[in-house]
Amino acid sequence: MSETVKNTALFGLVFGLIVLTGFMQSWNVAVLILNMGLISAIMALGVNLQWGFAGLFNVGVMGFVALGGLAVVLTSAAPVEGAWSAGGWRIVIALLAGAGTIVATVVVRQRMAAGRARNIATIAILVVGFFLYRGIFDPGVAAVEAINPALQGNLGGLNLPVLLAWPMGGLLAAGVAWLIGKTALGLRSDYLAIATLGIAEIIIAVMKNEDWLARGVKNVVGLDRPVPYEIDLQNSSAFINRAEGLGMDVATASSLFVKLNYSILFAVVLAIIFVMAQLALKSPWGRMMRAIRDNEVAAEAMGKDVTNRHLQIFVIGSAVCGIAGAMMTTLDGQLTPGTYNPLRYTFLIWVMVIVGGSGNNLGAVLGGFLIWFLWVQVEPMGLWLMEVITSGMAEDSGLKKHLIDSAAHMRLLTMGVILLLVLRFSPRGLIPEK
């Protein structure tokens, strides 16, 4: 079987499964899986850039996805009236002071000779800088958060079109990734993993607690959408006529229409990123990356700047994850920092990349769709399985109730089993690297 046939068959299988969902459950569920599958595929491409191309072990995907979500609020939400004059600028100045402290510390450490004087100077700058920062920062935050706290209490955004938030999400994630890469890259692989794991937790902690930024755990709801609202469609006579022409219920048709609009937008983004990743992989730059991945020392001997190339691809991969995160928040229409959890947003993406085939962009995309489909469908399948297993038990049996209630937790178990099976029997994934 030639490679093209095999790949087509694999993609055909996954889309067949999604279409089957449409027939067996509902088309709404099917399109929802498709949409999140498209987003997951983009995230998987981002991780594949880092891991598959360059061998960087980043388990902080969740943080960059969340930053993308934050960018949606900061870009597209309406600015909160009076927030900037009340304390917004103060917060900005405080953040600049904080950044200045860190820059000053780095400069002092570079300029002064090692010794006690340098250590004292470092500590003095950090302590003074910290209190200065808190001194400017706290009143500003209090002022901003006091504005209409039940509904606002944050700075709001720039009121730009929401589609612009997607590249902004990429930029924000890239900026943070650059900062992280500057400090953490160059650590060996497991240290980098633990460092990125920690950074993702910190990003989420900041988003949960800094209410002035995006209302923290109080969530921002009702974000702008790039597609029409269902209710407007249901009130438009042209749409009603067309839906009835197709023999569909207007409510279902409107919700499907909106979701399909999203699908088209997401598919366009996925196509652009995929083509770019593919071009990168085949370019001299891509070959250099793989050379660095396979033998760092040899690549360095050939005059390649390994640390800078790592930084480069770390930033690019994180930016892709940021874009996907922004798209996801746009799809949800709300930013809920409390829902980000590393199993779902970091490790699941890793399962996608490994199962699909690390180092192969097509594989990452396939993994994104397939694993997302399973993630959604394992729950109903598990429930069905449990009902079959327990069908012989008495109605009031405690074990039966427990098993049926626990079916919801089957997905973690299944993902683990799939990951281990693929690693064991097909370590290069479904579509291996060429």
Binding site: A184, H409, M410, M415
Partner: protein, 336 residues
């Protein structure tokens, strides 16, 4: 008097909680460090191994409670601990047999083993949620306090009270026993010595006839015991909640790395460094400073450096600083 009050407040809110938390972290970090030393990879499933052990502890405790067994003033969970350890030992040995051994024979790169441990993490996490559900579970019983605030105030006549929870006392005592046993085993027994030899230099150890599979098996057994003990103690002290153990992974890794990966002594030191930094930096110092400073200087704010939600950030910053300036950790671990 003011000085004593300050000291009591400090002990009550900082020192005692930090010692208990530090002991739990140290036990966890010992497991991570042993696996790193012998099997040479960072085990991402360690948090969930603790989780699994604690879960068996909870289940056995419930069973014992329902049978009417109790341990007097001490929590019944201590009686359940040996059973939980046995259960976890069985689980990790099966995992090693089914999953890890294949990669060991292949001489797979450490990073592949890390990814494999991610898969194991998913499975263990799923198992725990499957068996006990994702909710909070209470299983502590017995006396709540060794000394309560009111008793302490009546005893000393000070304005500030000092409370020592039974669980905190037990945590420290059990941790000391576990660590003593571990060091006795590593330094005095033949198997322990062969483990250290294997960790120091694999080739030399193999050359002198040490059976690697045996070393690996003992490592898993010890790790299971340590992880379960840490998990049960943490669950007793706070409360048992499956997801929390996953979040402990970061401070545990930070402890192990700060101390120097592969160094048991370092893991213990690292655990306390992380615990004390987390607690002191997120503690509101107003209460202590009120006693220490003259009235005119009394602080108006809470004097809290960082909100408690940022405690992860503390362990993380320490981790980064150590990695950048002393990559082998405080106790010269491995840096390969």
């Amino acid at each position: 008097m003011d000085f004593l009050n300050a000291l009591v407040a400090l002990s009550n809110f900082v020192i005692i909680p930090a010692i208990a938390y530090g002991s739990q972290l140290a036990l966890g970090a010992l497991g991570v460090t042993l696996i790193y030393g012998i099997l040479r990879f960072s085990n991402f499933a360690h948090g969930d191994t603790m989780d699994f052990g604690a879960m068996i502890g909870v289940l056995v405790t419930w069973f014992l409670q329902s049978m009417g067994v109790s341990f007097g003033p001490l929590p019944t969970a201590l009686l359940a601990l040996p059973f939980a350890i046995l259960g976890t030992m069985a689980l990790v040995l099966i995992t090693d047999r089914v999953v890890y051994r294949f990669y060991r024979e292949q001489k797979a790169k450490p990073v592949i083993l890390v990814i494999v441990s991610m898969g194991v993490m998913f499975i263990m996490n799923g198992l725990v949620r499957f068996i006990i559900g994702p909710n909070d579970q209470k299983f502590a019983d017995g006396e709540r306090f060794i000394i309560s605030v009111r008793e302490f105030k009546a005893l000393t006549g000070l304005k500030e009270g000092l409370a020592i929870k039974t669980t905190q006392g037990i945590t420290v005592v059990v941790a000391i026993i576990a660590v003593a046993l571990l060091f006795w085993f590593l330094n005095r027994t033949r198997t322990g010595k062969s483990m250290r030899a294997y960790s120091d230099n694999e080739d030399l150890a193999l050359l002198s006839g040490i059976n690697p599979e045996r070393v690996v098996m003992y490592t898993w057994l010890i790790v299971a015991a340590l992880a379960t003990t840490a998990g049960v103690l943490y669950g007793l002290d706070k409360s048992f909640k499956p997801f929390v153990y996953f979040q402990l992974l970061l401070p545990i890794f930070a402890s192990a790395i700060v101390g120097g990966l592969g160094s048991p002594l370092g893991a213990i030191a690292g655990g306390f460094v992380i615990a004390f930094s987390e607690v002191t930096i997120t503690y509101a110092w107003k209460k202590v400073l009120k006693y220490m400073l003259p009235e005119s200087l009394e602080p108006s704010s809470l004097m809290q450096l960082l909100s408690t939600d940022y405690k992860f950030a503390v362990s993380f910053v320490i981790l980064i600083v150590v990695l950048l300036f002393k990559p082998t950790g405080l106790f010269k671990g491995k840096s390969v």
